[in-house]
């Protein structure tokens, strides 16, 4: 009973954060702030949604043991969550670096601290 309530709360928060990621991609002005919305919110939302799956299957673990089909599905879902947690920040970092080096300026930015660094790396690559 309590596990069901916790599962529904986790599903609600996870769906809310995924929707916020989708809306934030349209509301923010430039690629850097869109990265902020699209990467962090989906990571947190996927943690909560897969966590809801794990919490729901705790009762089947107790009843049927670790080798039931539901438990195997939950373990594989945890592996998928680990893959998301490892790859999502790394690809976000790569996208941000690529956007800055390809010359996209942040919207309404006054000072760009990495301007000289960018020119230095260009000279070095030539």
């Amino acid at each position: 009973m309590i596990l069901n309530v916790i599962t529904y709360i986790f599903i609600g928060i996870g769906c809310f954060f995924n929707l916020m990621a989708a809306i934030g991609l349209h509301r923010f002005p430039d690629p850097y702030t869109r990265l902020h919305a699209g990467t962090k919110c989906t990571t947190f939302g996927s943690i909560l949604l897969i966590g809801a799956l794990v919490i729901q299957s705790i009762s089947t673990w107790v009843a049927e043991g670790i080798s039931s089909p539901q438990s195997i599905l939950t373990l594989h879902a945890l592996i998928a969550l680990v893959a998301i947690l490892l790859t999502n920040p790394t690809s976000a970092h790569a996208i941000g670096r690529a956007a800055h080096r390809s010359g996209v300026k942040p919207a309404r930015a006054v000072v760009d601290d990495l301007e000289t660094e960018n020119q230095k790396s260009k000279v070095k690559s030539q």
Binding site: A22, T39, I50, H76, A94
Partner: protein, 83 residues
């Protein structure tokens, strides 16, 4: 219990696809693609829980790792202008 969540995630995927098509610059489209990949992985896991099929979750793991490699290569292409 899980099928409405999958439908909701499909709606999120459609909203993200609009950004993927509209995006004025190349990094905008790449951000849209990265977000899309994460939501698709979660939707696959939820569909696996809805239909009680373990193979969907295995496909989601492979999709997550392959989409990571794809994103890194496209980022390198945008950065240098060539592979």
């Amino acid at each position: 219990m899980w099928l409405p969540v999958a439908v909701f995630l499909a709606v999120c995927i459609l909203i993200i696809l609009i950004r993927l098509f509209l995006g004025p610059t190349q990094p905008d489209r790449l951000v849209g693609l990265d977000t899309l990949n994460t939501v698709v992985v979660v939707a696959m896991v939820i569909l696996g829980a809805a239909f009680k099929e373990v193979i969907y979750v295995d496909v989601a793991i492979v999709y997550a790792l392959l989409s990571f490699v794809t994103t890194l290569f496209i980022a390198k292409y945008i950065e240098k202008g060539k592979f």
